[in-house]
Amino acid sequence: MKRLIRGALLGLFLVTTAQAAIDTYEFSDEAERERYRTLTEELRCPKCQNQNIADSNAPIAMDLRQEIFRMLEEGKSNDQIVDYLVDRYGDFVRYKPPVNAKTMLLWYGPVGLLVLGFGVLTVILVRRRRVEKAPASTLSETERERLAQLLDKKDS
């Protein structure tokens, strides 16, 4: 019985701490809630670098969540909100970096490598085919007879 009570108390404790980490914002409609969710998931916490703003418990992430909520309430568009944060923290805060001269390699590098790989593969295959065809055409009539003779000799 004692164990049960202790377990229940522990459970209660865990529930309350888990809830403490979640902010409670009152959204005016479902679409806004959805936008808040995508924004906080796409933006990166500058302090704890491998977490997005939604996941992080760092004070700065909390501030930024509040800031995003405030801007949503003000009727700012997603782009405006992202730009606001990029102006302060740089492109770093975006998990989806913009396509520009600096990020060209990042965006198109993999595709480029794939095309290069196919190119190399094609060259290799074409060459191999040429080599396979080659013997038939390079041996003259006498050479072929000689080859047959030699092979026969070996067999006997």
């Binding site: 500058p46 302090k47 670098q49 501030d63 102006d87 302060r88 923290y89 740089g90 770093f92």
Partner: protein, 176 residues
């Protein structure tokens, strides 16, 4: 031609190795500031010492300075504080941004550990910190006499950091 092609994997390996080797010595937690080359964001906040005294970005113009974001809850700031005191004694202009702090605690700290700041901005709600792209104290900005942000340093300024990185930059701004 064939020979050269055979060397290709080695060349690729060397290029990758150089990149990875360099990567070993980069600090990923140090973000380049998006504000380099831009003026200080506009603000209008009271000073730590006197609530009636309003400080704006205009007040920081005129002389190149360090703008140091600090707080009493920031453990590393305590390490940095004596260094700032020494720099202030040498004549380096340092302004403070007391970031999301309890003002009474801030005043007590300045009383106890000496006050190296010429102007000390009271940013209790962290609005200036947000506009500056601050993500953790201490952070220090180097501004020129027009109030343009020229450099940002994240972390504790110790004697070595000052000597090797910031002193020359500050001197350059003074000589401009």
């Amino acid at each position: 031609m064939k020979r050269l092609l055979m060397l290709l994997p080695l060349v690729i390996f060397l290029v990758v190795a150089v990149f990875l080797y360099r990567g070993l010595f980069l600090d990923p937690s140090e973000l380049p500031s998006a504000l380099i080359g831009k003026p200080l964001p506009a603000f209008s906040l009271p000073s730590v010492e006197d609530e009636q005294r309003v400080i704006t970005a205009e007040d920081l113009k005129g002389k190149p300075a360090l703008v140091n974001v600090w707080a009493t809850w920031c453990v590393a700031c305590k390490v940095e504080h004596p260094v700032l005191n020494r720099l202030a004694a040498q004549g380096v202009v340092i302004h403070g941004v007391n970031y999301k702090d309890d003002n009474a605690a801030a005043l007590k700290w300045l009383n106890e550990f000496h006050d190296p700041y010429q102007l000390n901005i009271r940013d209790e709600r962290g609005s200036l910190g947000l506009d500056l792209g601050v993500y953790g104290a201490p952070e220090t900005f180097l501004i020129d006499k027009q109030g343009i942000i020229r450099h940002k340093f994240v972390g504790v300024i110790d004697d070595r950091v000052w000597r090797e990185q910031l002193a020359a930059l500050y001197q350059e701004l003074v000589d401009e």
